[in-house]
C-alpha cells in the first residue's frame, strides 16, 4: 500500500490542491478509501488528517467503507425518478439481496444511488463500473447482473 500511495502522490507532484484527484486515484486503486492510505497521504503531504477526512466525507463518490468488486449505481435524479428509477432500484435490491448502500456477501457487488449521471434522455439509468445501461426495465435487471456475476 505504501508504494502505491507514494506513487500516486508523486504523479501529482505532491500538490496539495490536487487532493481530490489524488483521493480519486486512491479509490480507483482500492475501490474505497482505506484508512491506512488516508493517514499515509496526510503525513506525506503534510495535510491535517481532519482536512482529508472532511473531504472524503463531503463527496458522495468517495467511500470509507470497503466496497465490492463491481459498483452498481442507480440513478434517482429527477428524470430517472419519474421514469421509475426507484422500481429498478427495488428490483436490484431483491436481485442482489441487499439494501441500497451495502455490499453483497460474496463481495462482488455494491449497490449505490446517485442523483444524476447527466444522461437523462436514456433514463432510467443504471451504471455498473464504467458501463451504462439505459432505458432500464425490471426484465433487464437479471441479465445485467448475470453479466457481472462470477
Amino acid at each position: 500500500m505504501k508504494d502505491k500511495v507514494t506513487a500516486i502522490i508523486k504523479k501529482y507532484d505532491n500538490d496539495k490542491s490536487q487532493l481530490v484527484s489524488i483521493l480519486q486515484d486512491v479509490q480507483a486503486e482500492y475501490n474505497y478509501l482505506p484508512r491506512a492510505a488516508l493517514d499515509k497521504l496526510s503525513k506525506k503531504m503534510d495535510i491535517p488528517q481532519s482536512q482529508v477526512y472532511s473531504l472524503a466525507t463531503f463527496f458522495r463518490a468517495f467511500s470509507l467503507k470497503e466496497r465490492g468488486k463491481h459498483i452498481v449505481n442507480v440513478c434517482l435524479g429527477t428524470a430517472c425518478h419519474v421514469r421509475g428509477g426507484e422500481l429498478i432500484l427495488e428490483s436490484l435490491e431483491r436481485q442482489l439481496d441487499i439494501q441500497r448502500g451495502n455490499t453483497t456477501k460474496d463481495n462482488n457487488f455494491t449497490l449505490e444511488t446517485v442523483n444524476c449521471m447527466g444522461c437523462c434522455a436514456t433514463g432510467p439509468v443504471v451504471k455498473i463500473n464504467d458501463e451504462y445501461f439505459g432505458h432500464m426495465t425490471n426484465d433487464k435487471v437479471e441479465p445485467m447482473i448475470k453479466k457481472y456475476s462470477k
Binding site: R35, P48, Q49, S50, V52, Y53, S54, T57, F58
Partner: protein
C-alpha cells in the same frame, strides 16, 4: 496610505478604507449588525447569514451578507430595512427551530420578537451547534493545528474530529470553546484535567511551580514551546508569577 471610498450606511455618509467589508466598517462606526459566525481574527465565512444588509447600486436593491461584502464607492447600505428585518426574522426562526432550547439563539430571536418557532413541534430540534464552522476555522487559522473539521455534507454536516475518534492533533487550547457563538462546546478544568467532551479529549494541566495554580494544558505549552523554540522549563512558572 491606502485608497478610501465613501459609502452611505442608514442614510449617513462614511469614508472607509478600500478592501474592508461592510460589517467591519459598520462596526468601526458603532453600527450594530447581528452576527454569529463572525470573528475579527478569523476569515469571514458567511455561514449564519444573520449579518445580511440591503444594498443599493443604481436602481437595484439586493440582500448580501455584510461580513463578506467589500465596501465600494457610492455604495448605499441599509442595515435594518423592512426587507432585511423580514429576512433576518426568517433566519432566526429557522435557527430557533434547530436550536429550540439554546439560550443565545432564543435571546437573539426574542430581540426580533420571536418567542416560539413558527414550525410545528415535530420539526423542532434541540441542537446547540449551528454548524457555522467558527471552531473549525479558529483551530485552522488561529491555532494552526486543524484538529477538527466539518464532516459530511448537507443536513448531516457537523464539526467533528477525524474518524469521529479522539482528536489526536488537539492541544487543548480551548479556542473552539471560547469562540463558539452558541456555547455548543463544553470545556471543563477539574482536578488537574481539562476535558472537551465534544472532541473526546482530556489534557493534563500544568501546575505553576511557584503558586501551584493549574494554568494551561501541558500539551498546549509544549506546542508553543516547540513552535517558538523556547528553552525547556520555560513554562514552569505561570504568567502571574513571572
Amino acid at each position: 496610505m491606502s485608497e478610501s471610498v465613501t459609502l452611505t450606511i442608514n442614510g449617513q455618509k462614511y469614508s472607509a478604507e478600500k478592501g474592508k467589508t461592510v460589517l467591519q466598517v459598520a462596526a468601526d462606526n458603532g453600527i450594530k449588525i447581528p452576527t454569529l459566525c463572525h470573528h475579527e481574527e478569523i476569515e469571514p465565512y458567511g455561514a449564519c447569514r444573520l449579518c445580511i444588509v440591503e444594498i443599493t447600486r443604481g436602481t437595484r436593491n439586493r440582500i448580501v451578507t455584510s461580513c463578506l461584502y467589500p465596501v465600494e464607492e457610492g455604495l448605499v447600505v441599509q442595515t435594518d430595512s423592512p426587507r432585511v428585518v423580514r429576512n433576518r426574522k426568517m433566519l432566526l426562526d429557522l435557527l430557533l427551530a434547530r436550536c429550540s432550547e439554546n439560550k443565545v439563539i432564543k435571546g437573539l430571536a426574542a430581540e426580533y420578537g420571536i418567542e416560539k418557532p413558527s414550525f410545528r413541534e415535530e420539526y423542532r430540534e434541540k441542537h446547540d451547534c449551528i454548524v457555522c464552522g467558527l471552531c473549525v476555522r479558529a483551530c485552522e487559522q488561529v491555532v494552526g493545528v486543524s484538529a477538527i473539521s466539518l464532516v459530511n455534507r448537507g443536513i448531516h454536516k457537523e464539526p467533528k474530529p477525524p474518524y469521529l475518534e479522539r482528536a489526536k492533533a488537539c492541544i487543548g487550547c480551548g479556542s473552539c470553546f471560547y469562540v463558539c457563538p452558541t456555547n455548543a462546546i463544553q470545556m471543563e478544568d477539574k482536578n488537574g484535567i481539562r476535558r472537551i467532551d465534544r472532541w473526546k479529549v482530556e489534557f493534563k494541566l500544568k501546575k505553576c511551580s511557584k503558586c501551584g495554580i493549574e494554568w494551561a494544558p501541558v500539551a498546549q505549552l509544549e506546542y508553543i514551546r516547540k513552535k517558538w523554540d523556547l528553552p525547556a522549563g520555560f513554562f514552569d512558572i505561570c504568567p502571574n508569577c513571572k
